[in-house]
Subunit: 230 residues, 2 copies
DNA sequence: GTCTATAGTGGGATAGAC
DNA sequence: GTCTATCCCACTATAGAC
């Protein structure tokens, strides 16, 4: 969900209001984790935060807007984790796997209820959609992370592919997120297996792109991506 | 959305009940088309059908279950179109492209409407999800269609891949549906471009799977699919 | 600008009588 | 199988305290 997040909140807010806002967010996240999204009521959130229902709505104009807070938290944690990974790992596979693993680990506590409000992000016209204009900053930030995965690594790619690769890796991340949302296995074991097996495969495929036999396919893929982009 | 549908209803139902059921479905489809999914209420459906709210719930245990009626309509049209295509085309690429093109063409009139309730189907716990247990019969039926694409074609595949291929093609179909839902271009032009370019690429890749150099990758892909399946 | 209290409305879903 | 009555809760509205 990292990349579904909106951009960081503006800086200027009164300390008092900020405190109340944080209390509401904290209460909401606790309740979401405890009872899931649907069975968490705005009344419950307000009560747990020690504010009135009206006040909760003063800060978050709908229950869905509280979801933004969740996005922001996961994104922040992922960004921090990514810094460690990228400072540590030098191989392409290591960096990619590190990033994706970190995301799965960070998002895990929220898995159960994440599915419940996933639909907010899935609605094509929603600003929470990963492909929306509103999400562009977050999407660009996430894509930049994957560009770093490439820049700091040992990977050599066919040049035509190199330019498209960060976006393709971001798409892969979206695929993992999608899989994760639907993954009902304990501790999202299947998603972890997916990442563990897909990363070496992608690594292998990427390294093959400079073979003569594969060049034609690479050109096709790049052509497809470019033809299909809005 | 074809493949999100449930299987045809069981045969045995009282004529009385069946009539009521049909009235509710007809009213629901009218209202969905007129005002969209969200702004159609169960009260409105019940009233338009001339039954009580409670009675509507007797037949459809949730609003989402009413959407199945829409799925069934599209699915029926696609199945019929598929028969023509599969009787006519003999190449793998021709059969695959025919099936996907037919789906895009059939679904086109519903594009706007589909976007509105797509989020409901995207929810993992929803019975409308293509991966739900409720959708299994429809999913199996759709997969069988893609198995036919292979069976009647000239394509030779690496044996290990052959067994997994129908399901992979179904996944590809889901990818096209996903892309289609988000496609805001006029007449879903981008989706058509996607299909037109992806099919030859898939065809080329499939034919490469028997090359020695590619065998390792094929095994990896098959291993990945098997490790990751529920 | 922040917050409370209270009184609504609308609509999804259910219980239980008939 | 059908209804009526009811619950629950997201969400709105508003009047006013600090």
């Amino acid at each position: 969900m990292t990349t579904l997040s909106t951009v960081p909140e503006p800086a200027s807010r009164s300390p008092k209001g900020e405190q109340t806002r944080q209390a509401i967010v904290a209460a909401a996240l606790d309740l979401f984790r405890e009872r899931g999204y649907d069975r968490t009521t705005m009344r419950g959130v307000a009560e747990a935060a020690g504010v009135s229902l009206g006040n909760a709505y003063y800060y978050f104009s709908s229950k869905e807007h509280l979801v933004q807070a969740f996005y922001d938290r996961v994104q922040e944690e992922h960004r921090a984790a990514a810094e460690d990974v990228l400072a540590r790992e030098t191989t392409f596979a290591g960096r990619l796997q590190g990033l994706l693993d970190a995301w799965v680990r960070i998002a895990q506590p929220y898995h159960e209820f994440a599915g419940k409000f996933f639909k907010n992000a899935a609605e094509p016209t929603s600003p929470l959609s990963p492909f929306s204009e509103d999400s562009r900053p977050a999407r660009d930030a996430s894509t930049a992370l994957f560009r770093e995965v490439l820049d700091g690594s040992d990977l050599k790619l066919a040049p035509a592919l190199r330019a498209e690769m960060p976006e393709l890796l971001w798409l892969m991340h979206m695929g993992v997120v999608l899989f994760w949302v639907y993954d009902g296995s304990p501790d999202q074991r299947r998603t972890r297996a997916l990442v563990a097996q897909a990363v070496p495969l992608v690594d292998k495929l990427a390294r093959m792109t400079r073979l003569p036999l594969v060049r034609g396919v690479v050109d096709d893929v790049v052509g497809l991506v470019r033809a299909v982009r809005p």
